[in-house]
Symmetry: none
Subunit: 189 residues, 4 copies
DNA sequence: AATGAATGAGAGTTCATTCAT
DNA sequence: TATGAATGAACTCTCATTCAT
């Protein structure tokens, strides 16, 4: 048929869209193949099985996400600036990519992603982790376990974006800034 | 064989446990029946189908939950007191009933519960809703859409409890109070 | 509950109605019990199993039918008169009892009744059988195997009544007489 | 396993045989698959569900049947000739294909086929319909509703073939001609 | 005698995965 | 390398039948 330059990408994209739209159990491999414009068997040339396809999709999305979030991040700026910068970026990324958000949400809430999630957020190597640590040292941020601080930051984020995507709420630039401010209020000393 | 006094309850309990453990799609009706110590057919004497079984389980849990949460709630106390009271109760309930938390989480994140959740939290009739409204009127709470305030309150809650249940975090009374305080910081003016 | 004077009869009647309405496979025993106003278990006090219930119903209907058909039948009248008399009675009975017709039709066309049907129609003892034999002897009726003559008589009957019951055709007294006449034309020499 | 060149045909054939032998409700899909030498899932590659499989089988049989019946039919021949021609062809077809007869019988007597049957036989477009109309116009055929005439023709046919297939009757060429003659006697003026 | 809650065999259907082409 | 026809395990649900009350 048409010259598919990269079937692997087509499969991943189809998977993203379909799972965002219909959930894991609503998207059979045959449907993914159809949407991707490839044969069912082809999926198994690029991925061991359906699970691995989904894990791989997650990894790629994660990398893309991270690249975006830390873009323009400057270690030497004040803590609050950096906090706002990171939050803004995350919000913007997820609002701009609702499909990815829907997918990630499902991924983390399913047996697939339970393990993955924490390994990501809590890894001490993360700049965000380091930022909070520094904030605490400077006496700006509440002296709480990082996991709890993360909960105070990412918890609202997930909720609010979900509501935005479902139309319950209209997030604009102004509201976003106020939201980030409120999040800072929650963690600041 | 064994004289089960209340098979309906046994089925609901088995469903709760299994779905909390393994998710919706990981728990076939045959497994529920086995765990409940009844025949497969018996499930269908009490519930029209699997969907209805799950809805019913949700309804019953919801009622139990609500009864607990609004227990000892007094309209005439100050806004902050009432806020703390409700938050405390919700946290305590969910921490004491991790299976139910796990189930509700799945329920709300699945096609089953999307509609239900907001209808519940955002409905103007809810005391929590009224409380925030009053807080705003008194100039104590930020002037934001209620949906956003809910996100700032329940977002951290869901995250933190999940982390507690998965062992990532050890929540004690002290930490809980500090968490509720931080949540208040987020929404207070 | 209400004083059921004859549960057995109630069960048979419910079975007749339901099977006529919905077919064998559309009528579970539970439905029969409900319609009959008895418990499911009660059916099994009167009948060994569902098959036997249906066979019994057939037998009773058959007896009732036969009693009606041979009513007023006089051996000494001319062959044609007797033929018309019997046909008229059968037609009238089946038209007056569409439920029974529906049931019998299903019964004969199912594994249940294949054997039964012939045992009935071809038994040499039947007056109808004797009538045709006499008609042949008198040179009034075609010299064909009785089975074939029966086909020429009962075949149209079944078809026409089915069409009448389904509303495709409106049978009145006049049309009925013409139909019986046509049937006689088919078998007469 | 075995290289089946046409599984679809194998499935249809197995369905025909089994339903003729055992009725609709006596033939589970698993049995069809086994008899056809395919996996259960394969049935669903070719047919949406069991109903559609059966409808399709009917359509194909019907087409084959019709092709045979109207073979050699010449509009310009006399009415009686044409009547005999069609009857002969139908009889021959059904006698030569007892499985198809058994299947069609079941199909028409089940919820599947009620609508189909009349739509077919009575539709004004059918040559048989036109033939009877012409016969009436020429004063050869009794002035009765077509439905009734159809009953007089097809009623005996169904009965007699059933008896032949069940061994109650041995139809040969001679008997067949006499039967067609008798049918004509029934409808002729 | 009458009941109906309980049962599990068996129904129709789906879908991740394989493999001959 | 790419395909999609073929598969059967596993799913949800039905219903004739049993048996303790």
């Amino acid at each position: 048929m048409s010259r598919q330059p990269d079937k692997r990408t087509a499969i991943l994209l189809a998977t993203l869209k379909l799972i965002a739209e219909r959930g894991f159990h609503g998207t059979p491999t045959s449907m993914i193949a159809e949407r991707a414009g490839v044969g069912v068997g082809t999926i198994y040339r690029y991925f061991k099985d359906k699970d691995q396809l989904i894990h791989t999709l997650y990894e790629e999305l994660e990398a893309k996400n991270k690249a975006f979030v830390y873009q323009g991040y400057e270690e030497e700026r004040p803590v609050l600036d950096r906090f706002q910068h990171l939050c803004r970026n995350i919000y913007r990324y997820l609002l701009a990519n609702p499909l990815e958000f829907r997918f990630l949400e499902q991924y983390f809430d399913s047996p697939y992603g339970v393990a993955k999630m924490r390994q990501k957020l809590d890894s001490a190597g993360e700049p965000f982790h380091a930022l909070l640590k520094e904030g605490k040292r400077q006496g700006l941020v509440k002296d709480m376990p990082p996991t709890l601080l993360f909960g105070l930051i990412f918890g609202p984020m997930i909720n609010v974006i979900k509501d935005h995507d479902s139309g319950l709420l209209k997030l604009d630039e102004v509201l976003l800034e106020r939201l980030i401010e409120a999040t800072w209020d929650a963690i600041k000393k």
